[in-house]
């Protein structure tokens, strides 16, 4: 299928898709960014709490706010590093809710004594968590969270204008100062998520066209290299023989015998034509009694190949210690990748994105560490 010009000019982004779903490996940078945002948010919260200690009216609430913030980011980070679906909307909603509670507790902890709303770290962390969520969630979802943050910031600011010593400042100014950080970060996160998805999706369209071109080039190479003519003695013996028989228009007894010999040679050559089995190149041992490797679906085989290459590339694995076993039973097919390592945790960390990719491509895939061995087991539901 070729992408029409109309589609390229008016790229309509697929709905409900996050940038990470199109580019799962970007989770590496998204997770790193999240950890730093979490660290900065917590440091900022602790720093501001200490710096504005004179404004704190309830220390239990202030401490509960800090704990809540840490829990919210902790849950977020845990979701981002999970092997299965990662940061789903439900999981992010929990993180956001807990961090929103932290913002409310922070605000309430200085109720009546809040001199400057701008010192409330809760409003900043609400914005920061949206920024960190940008690669993980869709622009529309972030829009909802931004709206919630804005409403929450407005309500807290109004509460303080009634309860605290900010009466000499116009109420609208206090609200604007309170709303600006979550609104700015929220809209920034929405724009980031949408633009990143657009960029990656455009790249996907470009790659689709390139793949078609590569297929054409491979086909041309196949023809130019005369691979067909190289099968058996086709070009050297069979073609001249057929041409001669056709030219003379008569079949002799010797021609019959010669045709029989050539047919036998060709039959052997066709049978010996190499079948696809390059997965074995990446492992120390390939156990495949049912000859499943050449029959795997091409996407599944590419995923396995990438995982095996990643294992080979890790300094914590030895290529000879990598085993791929493909098993076909009466009612099921599955495979196991085993890799021995002196530091299985480090090995797992090295190849985690590729294990996640395996999880994306196979309906069921699990990984576990058994002693000094990392195991990745997956079901094979489809064949090519």
């Amino acid at each position: 299928m070729r992408v029409g010009r109309r589609s390229r000019r008016h790229v309509r982004l697929p709905s409900g898709v996050t940038a990470l779903e199109l580019d799962p490996l970007a989770a590496i940078s998204a997770r790193g960014f999240l950890v730093v945002v979490a660290g900065v948010s917590i440091a900022c919260a602790i720093g501001l709490t200490i710096a504005t200690a004179s404004q704190v009216s309830s220390w239990p609430l202030a401490i509960a706010a800090l704990v809540s913030l840490a829990v919210g980011f902790g849950w977020f980070i845990r979701s981002a590093f999970r092997f299965d679906l990662g940061v789903t909307n439900d999981r992010f909603a929990i993180s956001f809710a807990v961090i929103a509670i932290a913002a409310v507790l922070n605000s309430l902890s200085c109720l009546g004594t809040n001199a400057f709303v701008r010192d409330d770290w809760g409003l900043i962390t609400l914005g920061l968590v949206l920024m960190a969520a940008a690669p993980f969630r869709t622009s529309a979802e972030l829009g909802t969270y931004t709206a919630v943050s804005t409403v929450l910031a407005t309500m807290l600011a109004l509460l303080h204008t009634f309860m605290s010593a900010t009466a000499d400042v116009p109420r609208l100014v206090v609200v604007l100062v309170a709303v600006a950080p979550p609104l700015a970060f929220g809209l920034g996160a929405m724009a980031y998520a949408r633009q990143l998805l657009r960029g990656i999706y455009s790249e996907r369209l470009r790659q689709a066209e390139e793949r078609e071109q590569q297929l054409d080039e491979l086909r041309r190479t196949f023809v130019d290299d005369d691979v067909v003519g190289e099968i058996g003695s086709l070009r050297a013996e069979i073609v001249p023989f057929l041409a001669r028989v056709r030219g003379q228009g008569v079949l002799t007894v010797d021609d019959r015998v010669r045709a029989g010999v050539l047919a036998q040679n060709l039959q052997t050559a066709i049978s010996e034509s190499r079948r696809l089995d390059s997965l074995g190149d990446h492992v120390g041992e390939l156990i495949d009694e049912s000859d499943l490797a050449p029959r795997l679906h091409e996407d599944d085989r590419a995923t396995l190949r990438a995982l095996l290459i990643a294992l080979n590339a890790s300094e914590h694995a030895r290529p000879d210690d990598i085993t791929l076993e493909l098993i076909e039973g009466e009612s099921s097919r599955f495979g196991v990748v085993r890799c021995a390592s002196a530091d299985v945790r480090a090995l797992r960390a090295d190849v985690l994105p590729f294990i996640r990719m395996t999880r994306l491509m196979f309906r069921r895939a699990e990984e576990q560490s058994a002693g000094t061995v990392l195991l990745v087991q997956f079901d094979i539901d489809r064949l090519g």
């Binding site: 299928m1 809209l187 793949r211 079949l251 034509s273």
Partner: protein
Amino acid sequence: MTLQIAADIDGLATSRALAKAGTWLAGVFLAATVVISGLFIPVTGHSEIVYGLAGLVIVGLGVVAALHTASFGRALLYTLIACAGLYGFALVSAGVSVQVPGPTPASDYVLLSMPEFAVLVVGISARSLGKSIALGTLAFFAGPGLVQLAAWQQGMPLAVDVPVLCSYLALVLFVTALWFGRRDAARGTALMSGAALAEERDVALERFSTRASSWLHDTVLHDLNALAMAEPGPLTLAHTQALDRDLANLADVRLILDEPGRSGSATRELATVPALLAVVRAAEQSGLRIRVGGDVAAVNDLAPAVVTALERALDECLDNVLQHSGVREAEISVMSSPPGLSVMVSDSGSGFDVDAITDQAVGLRVDVVDRIVEIGGSVQIWARPGAGTAVFITVPEASS
């Protein structure tokens, strides 16, 4: 590549996304400053605040230009222009603040802090970590630095703006984390891309080889065997025609490699349509083999709610094929026929009596028809026992 992994290897998409994010971030802070400053015009009676607002406009233009330019030199220039605008705003704002009766705010006044935040983001979209930090640092010293100068010139009490200082440090940390993460991701992506391309090449060559071997088996080998068993003497017409065909095809093997309907897997053909890709992948994992054809890309033009309904309907149709048809192959055809888009799911299985009250008929009616009708579409089901099933779904296009 085979796996349909789209990746931002060179960081261009990320850079553009950061530029957009920075634009909004700076825009909100500047807009809030404009509104608050505007409110002070009638309150204080100082109409010169309007000149300060003009300075904020320059800040905005400078920041947006710095974020979006590809040239580092121009980004430096635009940053300095933005900082000059900020200096102008600070001069006016600080001047008015010291003249207004009551306690005079210090130079970490929130009205000055917010445009300083806006200026700090200029470096986030730069294409290297060094340039990014250099731009951010320039903005930090030239932006808040000039604000302090303006405050001092106007006699405003000076104070270190701790939130702005912390924001600068945090931005440096964020940008650094993003760059290191992106570097690792690019390394992983290159690995995955290499694996997928190698797979693609192997699969293509395997197909060509298989196709060629199959053709040789069915033609040349067959004809050689026929000659070996033929009686000596003049060639028959059938032999002559067979030899002519073999020699012609061997002279141009491209004809052998053309295999209609086998240009790639359904998954690969659907590279550009995530909605259908998910449906097809799920069905393939359940054991179905799906052929997809027609104007598949048109599905991307549908409204989100329509896409969701269509996905679920197709899921149900394919599940019906799997459960009831007795075959393991189905076909999805997409036809754009404005103002609607039609999608047909068909199989050559056992079929069923549409009017009968069977699980299959009821399932299609409830899970497909109702779902599609809800979004303004229509469904027609053609089925006969022993003659396969075709479900013709029409959904409204986005503009209709």
